[in-house]
Point group: D2
Chain length 431, copies 4
């Protein structure tokens, strides 16, 4: 099969070298629908990537599309900073009714700007302002964004180096490790907090992902999250759950932390919150933390009303009842079984399979293998990304709304990509 | 006249106290068209604010709307990270043809994320990476954004305090002052750079707005900008022009720095670049600065294709020829004459009138006056904001596409708001 | 017994509240000799504190005193910045002959200023300059000094808070813990260094005390120090041993790291290096690290020649042969036996006894007990300090030159102070 | 004349490359007395450097020497941390009687460690603690020390680069410039403080030298200092005068700020405070600022009692009456006349002559000239240093106790050094 070459190289001539996904997927995409993207030669690709979690409801979801077109056609206000609008009111009411109230979550809602990193910046600013302290704790392999505040709590050394200044006021701690492992629970973190001589300045907050999507699909156990919430409470630190990638149903429930039964002090949402890939982000926090002064944090694109419209439609369609959540959990089991079969089937050491809901990863002993698997998958018409500090994990992120057959098809293609990237055993390996 | 009260107080109950514009404009807006917004009671407001510069082509511009609806209807890919898409290619080619090539600008184009502050963060990161230095110089009353990197180069003390950490690696310098004034040119800045004993670490870059939109409509003279560009060249500092608010034709030309005949090393664009209020931002830089590694800066909403579509439509409609630029300059003269007349007509010290293109401000001796003027204007059906560190400036920012009659109407309402906020002379004033 | 009251309260009226030792020891000292201090009423105190390690050879050691008086009487140059002087040359040659050469240590010698914290500042500056990185790792309960660079690598929260700015570029790691314990070796540190996603920026250096004198007389095992040296080598970090308190024979050998058989890249010395309590400090480093430019670090009191004279006399007297080292180790055993006997003899949980050479600590389960023991010891005529983040450790630091009978006397007084601070069992305890 | 070569090169082999003064003065000094140093060949050098201000009363001043020998001989306690001692009490009482009380200065006295940089670190820590702010303002060409806190408020780019980390929380402002000049008074500084949009975070303190000794003998006018004190009062910033080099009578009065009639909030002293070149420093502050907790700042060599003894002797000898002050002012006039004569006598542009008391500088148009003058002076037997960011100033710093004939002799040698370093006019210069 021949990969379609871009008809023009304006991307290479004009776009910065910083571009990245386009290098692994050398196609020019044109249209999209549900779980499929089409390049300009109309070649279809099955999407097991979902915009890094921004397209949980699939591409151009027809329900959301209808709402969006209606709004645009009738000249609903498009851009409104943080003015009050009818679209925002409807969104707030729907978010309250379908998300917050049923879960007894007391949060105030802040529109911090359109991107996830804006939501994280706002969360960190608020936490520091509330506690009057600078220090924040994050976890190894965390990813929280590219602006300076978010980057300082991101683990990836390559991304960090891009800052051009030393990143400070942030200390990494070990992410959840298994009790069979070498470090149970919060041994080190708790000890640092307990001692007046530890050298760790008391943090204003701890920021955590329940599943590290960029860091390698590392899954924190519910008991670890509960332990963390308890530690934060005991040590007067705010708990920030960054649910940008794992929220909006990716792990089953609307919020990924629901399974653990915790109530974070601050939550960030973005990616799939608008449901249609429209830039929109939220920072949620307990009402007693809402000590912002009017305008103390602002930004031009906080009031992107078409996103409120699609966000509302998505909540109405998918979160009035528990069907999507149940379906996601069921499909998660399906994916897990398939991946375990793929893993078991291979010669050599079995890759590690892990995930929650519809966020799954397969980690290979040879880190370069994951990249090879994704490249082969692309040739086979399946979009798949790597994850982890060494890109050692193949990440499976299908839309939550994917059809059963599409899911089976994608898993089959994935299995084939794994098989077809096996290196033939070298003679040296046999001796 | 009675101001329509919001039908519900979900905003007060649920939205964070950080909300701001909605406080000065106590209406719930629903739809918009050209230069007018309508609240849910269908009351029209003439918009002299233009989304803080994000709506230079007016609300829901019909040409852009048509392109946007067509794209959405045919299921053009909506969200695509930094994958290559047909919509992005068309945008890049059009940007090259209508903006860069005619101006002999050699820039590479980076999509840094959807908001202006993302563009500034990327610019600062790149400048520091290129020069291997941390220090950056900014100017008093500058506004560059709310994430930590951008906030450190923003002047406003209230916004800075929101950071919750000390903002470092950035030093303020005096913004352009008139030669009749007390500090000519770059006396202090140049002296600091010239001395090995000054205590100013050599900056990687200088970031500047040609007109400070948030800082009080402070207008830098072309010769000052040329002097700054020369200083940067002589002292090996990169010149970053933040054209987020003043670019896309606000001052007449597409880039606000064209009038000065300079070529900045890095340029940031956002707000009106999509033309329709859709979140989109660009960071432009000389090709030799493009030392980014693939993926070194990333973000979920860098590839918001509907914004590429409207951005392309706006370039085709308004920047294939010089008509919009000419019209903006002509209308600028019109605004200036009207404002000078308003200023001259009043008793007491004449307010200061200043601006370029269709960015104008009137600064009152009594800072609270500007707020009063805006409040009265709202009652009269005119949306108008304050600017400056003490909100002492009334800021006039009509859409560039405003009709002649609308412009006259708005200016008349503004004059009335000024007149009707005059305090009657107190007896104490007479004695 | 009545404690002599100060004859005047000029200390309270005029000296800052920051004064500290004088509060626990409410006497006005006047003269001193060997292991004894005398207050102005000529009451003697046996010194088990030794100027926090600055008086390893006792007070006003007669051999050093003679050399000092001779030098001063003949108008030897007293103050000379970093000019070459005969006294400095003699010191350098003697240091080379008695300390560096016999141990095959290749160090260059820097005079960084008179205090220990100056030596640490110079060490950190040099390490960062050599490696071109900002980050430094230190250990929980470390103490390295009070100027900003040193304070940032000091664990004590109370001292850190005195900085008035956030202390950055430094990350704490767990100090040596026993393998029976919960964290073997460098598990966490090594893992952070090994991962590209850990969020720990690669450190320029690691700074460590072999025994933490202020942090609670915590003793690192030789194998842990060897492991640390190996880790530094493998991960391209410089190893700085801060031997300010434990060097100059306190643990037996001249350098406290000799026992572990390691050669740090940088070593700091101060306190007892002059031998007479005269302010003097050294920073030693491998010659290939000596990339300082002339004058890049300076200071007024780097060339305090009387200190060079006493330092030379001390080296000649005590370090030409191995007698002092042997004697210190033997007396260390003696102290250990005595302390274990004291600890075993008591009802309730036995306090922890630990130390090396003549640096010993007894940690009490009830932290306030250590303060009570020191207060009672003072009443009994024995000077003794607490140590540790909660002042929970009684610290025994007799001069290395203490006489046998004095040592026995002091240990007996200590035992008595421990006994006499036992709380009588409360009836509540019995129930 | 042949310069004596060091008899050994242990300095080159063993001492770090950071050594500096010894390079310009290639002799090995052995003894010293009054205004003269002698190398080991007994060659005398007239000292116009005075240990950079640490030897205001000359080398080995006989009155101080007697007190020091008496104290050492009778085994006065040498080292005592911050314990109360008879020697410290006498010093405090004498300092109160001879310095503070006669000048109505209300200061508390802190012993921050032995070096000037320790005094500055303590001053900055206290100011930040009192005000709860991080920012500090310093002045171009300032020199305050080499530890990180002090270095951040030091102007010299070469010294700053030695930090190895970005130096933050400190902003430079223009040092006093003449009203004929281009920047009157505090124009820029005051404007930054006045505006809420300036980007300068409100400083906790301003740190200033009344005469910049290392920065080029730059002399602040009394009215400028008064203006600065007033600005600090009006803007709620603490005023720190670093009197380490200019205090202890160097400019005439005991404190250099007395002439201006101001009372700084915090004052640092070191260098000549012990009078004999013994390491000793003080931080003085208004009693209401004394919010230190016991032990919040500490250090091993805060209680160097022999320095208290010589400091007391110096106060008794020189500061019970006004004779030394008058003599210094008179000799200052004498130096000024001599320097003006030297300057006027030369062909080409006259060097700038400036100073106060016995701190004088001559700045040459050709920066390398000052180094040549000092080198020639050394050959002639006169010790003289350069100053200023480009070493462009020859600095004259004789002991205050210098004899009349010695002063004349030194000035004559200086004049000769200036003459003998004149470049013969080149033919190119004539054309």
């Amino acid at each position: 099969m021949t990969v379609a070459q871009p008809a023009s190289d304006v991307f290479e001539r004009l776009e910065s070298e910083v571009r990245s996904y386009c290098r692994g997927w050398p196609a020019v995409f044109d249209r999209a629908n549900g779980s499929r993207l089409y390049d300009e030669n109309d070649r279809p690709y099955l999407d097991f990537f979902s915009g890094a979690g921004a397209l949980n409801y699939g591409h151009n979801n027809p329900v959301l599309k209808r709402a969006l077109l209606d709004y645009l056609e009738r000249d609903g206000v498009a851009h409104a900073l943080d003015m009050s609008t009818a679209a925002k009111r409807t969104f707030l009411e729907t978010f309250q009714d379908t998300v917050l109230a049923p879960r007894d979550l007391p949060y105030k809602v802040m529109f911090p700007g359109p991107a996830g990193t804006n939501a994280v910046e706002a969360a960190l600013k608020l936490a520091r302002k509330v506690k009057g302290r600078e220090a924040v704790v994050f976890f190894t392999n965390a990813f929280h964004g590219m602006s300076l505040g978010s980057l300082a709590v991101t683990g990836n050394a390559f991304k960090r180096a891009g800052a051009g200044i030393p990143l400070v006021h942030a200390t990494p701690m070990p992410y959840d490790e298994r009790p069979d492992g070498r470090e149970p629970g919060f041994l080190w973190f708790e000890r640092l907090l307990a001692s007046e001589g530890s050298g760790l300045d008391t943090p204003a907050a701890v920021i955590v992902e329940t599943v590290q999507g960029e860091g390698g699909i590392n899954v924190a156990r519910a008991e670890w999250l509960r332990g963390l919430a308890d530690l934060c409470r005991r040590r007067d630190m705010l708990l920030i759950v960054d649910d940008i990638q794992m929220g909006c149903g990716r792990t089953g429930a609307f919020f990924s932390f629901e399974e653990a039964g915790i109530t974070p002090d601050i939550v960030t949402l973005a990616k799939s919150v608008s449901g249609y890939g429209l830039p929109m982000a939220l920072t949620l926090f307990r009402p007693e933390l809402d000590i912002w002064e009017p305008g103390e944090h602002n930004g031009t694109f906080r009031g992107f009303n078409p996103a409120f419209v699609t966000a509302t439609a998505a909540l109405e369609e998918y979160w009035r009842d528990g069907r999507l959540e149940k379906q996601t959990l069921a499909r998660g089991d399906q994916v897990e079984q398939a991946l375990l079969a793929v893993a078991a089937d291979r010669p050599g050491p079995a890759p590690d399979v892990r995930g929650r809901g519809l966020a799954w990863g397969m980690e290979f002993a040879d880190p370069s293998r994951a990249t090879a698997v994704c490249a082969r998958a692309f040739e086979l018409g399946l979009l798949l990304e790597t994850s982890g500090p060494e890109d050692q994990v193949a990440k499976l992120f299908p839309p939550l709304t994917i059809g059963d057959e599409e899911l089976e098809e994608g898993l089959a293609l994935f299995g084939r990509a794994v098989r077809e990237t096996e290196r033939p055993p070298r003679s040296a390996d046999r001796s």
